[in-house]
């Protein structure tokens, strides 16, 4: 009888009812407002990019797992999230086949070559985006205005090249040029509030990330509110920096991760060659996450008080 067997397992022995599927579908629900706003502002082509990117991610995951004789786990929603996040990080006028290429790359070389979900050192969606930026620099930096459909610059691009600021209301609602899912801070915050309420993301990373950017931009004489709401910072801080696989597991480590990413964003935005640096800041901090985990490991048998 199966039940009579004595099960010997390592800890943890107490589990809550969160599963990979539950959390993944929670994140997908949280991304719906940003996706809807993206489609509302940028039209059907944006919807097409989102669908193509998700489909390519799911199919790639299934083919890869089949080929390597792994159990096919496309129903857990992780590939859907990668495809959706990648699409939200693409310019709305991008040719559909490029989104598919990026999505295939993100799953195949960003995730599955390392062993699949839980083993990837870098956020797969950002790997896909970085690959597309390096491959098609012109297409990936051609932005469309949600007002009249003409080519425009992003608020950060305007700020960097011409010193022109954008008014807060447009930044907050998303009536600006930019990636499909990054323009509306309001929609992202609604999704983020849902995730925080559900406890699927830790508040430490977004708080330290956004806080560092706000403090540093103020110190260097920039407008902190503009820098918080412009570009992909909101989307990155709540949905990509908080990825459970690629961010630190310790609380102290999460503070370090957020502060480090915040410093990198400000450095890239103010002095770098690109107007925006959210994706690179998160990727670079993903790279040092194992190191952060190692050095912030809590003491197992309690801590010794200094001067105690």
């Amino acid at each position: 009888m199966e039940k009579e067997k004595l099960l010997i397992t390592s800890s943890p022995h107490i589990k809550d009812d969160d599963t990979v599927e539950k959390i993944m579908y929670g994140v997908i629900i949280a991304l719906i407002p940003a996706s809807v706003m993206g489609v509302y502002y940028f039209g059907l082509h944006a919807l097409l990019l989102i669908i193509a990117s998700i489909a390519a991610a799911v199919v790639t995951e299934a083919v890869f797992q089949k080929f390597r004789n792994y159990p096919v786990t496309i129903t857990d929603g992780s590939a859907v999230i990668t495809g959706l996040l990648l699409a939200l990080n693409l310019p709305p006028g991008l040719p559909v086949w490029m989104a598919i290429v990026g999505s295939v790359f993100a799953i195949a070389l960003g995730k599955q070559v390392f062993g699949g979900l839980g083993h990837n050192p870098f956020n797969p969606a950002l790997i896909g985006r970085a690959f597309l930026v390096a491959s098609f620099p012109v297409h990936m930096t051609t932005w469309i205005s949600p007002v009249d459909g003409t080519t425009t610059a992003t608020p950060l691009g305007l700020m960097k090249l011409q010193g022109v600021s954008t008014d807060y209301m447009s930044l907050f609602l998303g009536k600006i040029g930019g990636c499909i899912g990054e323009t509306s801070a309001l929609a992202i915050l609604i999704g983020a509030a849902y995730l925080l309420y559900k406890g699927y993301i830790d508040w430490r990373i977004p708080l330290s990330y956004l806080g560092t950017v706000a403090v540093l931009t103020t110190v260097f004489g920039q407008d902190p509110i503009f820098h918080l709401f412009a570009g992909g910072l909101m989307l990155g801080a709540f949905f990509m920096a908080t990825d459970m696989v690629t961010s630190p597991i310790t609380k102290k480590g999460r503070w370090i991760f957020g502060i480090g990413a915040g410093i990198l964003v400000v450095v890239i935005r103010l002095w770098g060659g690109y107007p925006e640096g959210v994706s690179y800041s998160i990727l670079l901090m993903n790279g040092v996450t194992p190191l952060i985990n190692r050095y912030t490991r809590p003491r197992v048998f309690g801590e010794v008080k200094n001067n105690g």
Partner: protein, 199 residues
């Protein structure tokens, strides 16, 4: 039979690039176009074959304590010849390969064969060994550079084959593309090797 084994060793079983993973520096640096990969492969082959012959000939006169400097001097001589010949007859390729031609001196493939084979075996075997390793090195470089040129520029040896509709993946001719192409090809080679081994 031994000679045939010496020759075929470098082609696949101990292919310097795909099986031993040595000589990675030129492999990653100059394989952005097929012509560069081929030129690098041939220049390295010339140095490898000539220095293997000389080192095999003089192996009994080299004191073992200073053998590495002696190998380097022999290799450097042929690298200088290759460098000057390339500069004189193929200035375009020489300009592209640049620093990586003098760097053949410290290519692990050449020093590795000198140390592991030429200094321990008679001349005729060393020639076959060097020839096999050269072909192995050249085909590997050529394969990587063809893959990168097709994806990164849509052409092979500068001749456009994918037409205007194809948007090149710029990343493939940039340094990250070298790692991507190398990594994926290595995975394919390992899969083939596994299939061969289980058969």
């Amino acid at each position: 039979m031994t000679l045939l084994k010496d020759l075929t060793r470098g082609l696949w079983r101990e292919n310097p690039i795909f099986r031993l993973l040595i000589g990675m520096c030129p492999t990653l640096a100059v394989t952005n176009a097929a012509i560069n990969g081929l030129a690098m492969g041939l220049a390295t082959s010339f140095v490898l074959i000539c220095s293997s012959i000389i080192i095999s000939l003089i192996k009994n006169f080299i004191p073992s304590k200073v053998r590495i400097p002696c190998f380097i001097i022999v290799i450097a001589t042929f690298v200088t010849i290759a460098d000057l010949v390339l500069a004189a007859f193929f200035p375009d390729i020489h300009a592209v390969l640049g620093l990586f031609v003098p760097l053949i001196v410290v290519n692990c493939v050449i020093l590795g064969r000198a140390e592991a084979f030429a200094s321990k075996n008679p001349v005729h075997r060393s020639i076959f060994d060097a020839l096999g390793m050269s072909i192995g090195f050249t085909w590997a470089l050529l394969l990587i550079s063809i893959v990168r040129e097709i994806l990164g520029m849509g052409s092979v040896f500068g001749i456009n084959i994918l037409g205007k509709a194809f948007t090149p993946f710029l990343i493939m001719v940039l340094p990250p593309g070298a790692f991507l192409a190398m990594g994926v090809l290595l995975g394919i080679m390992n899969t083939i090797q596994d299939k061969l081994a289980t058969r």
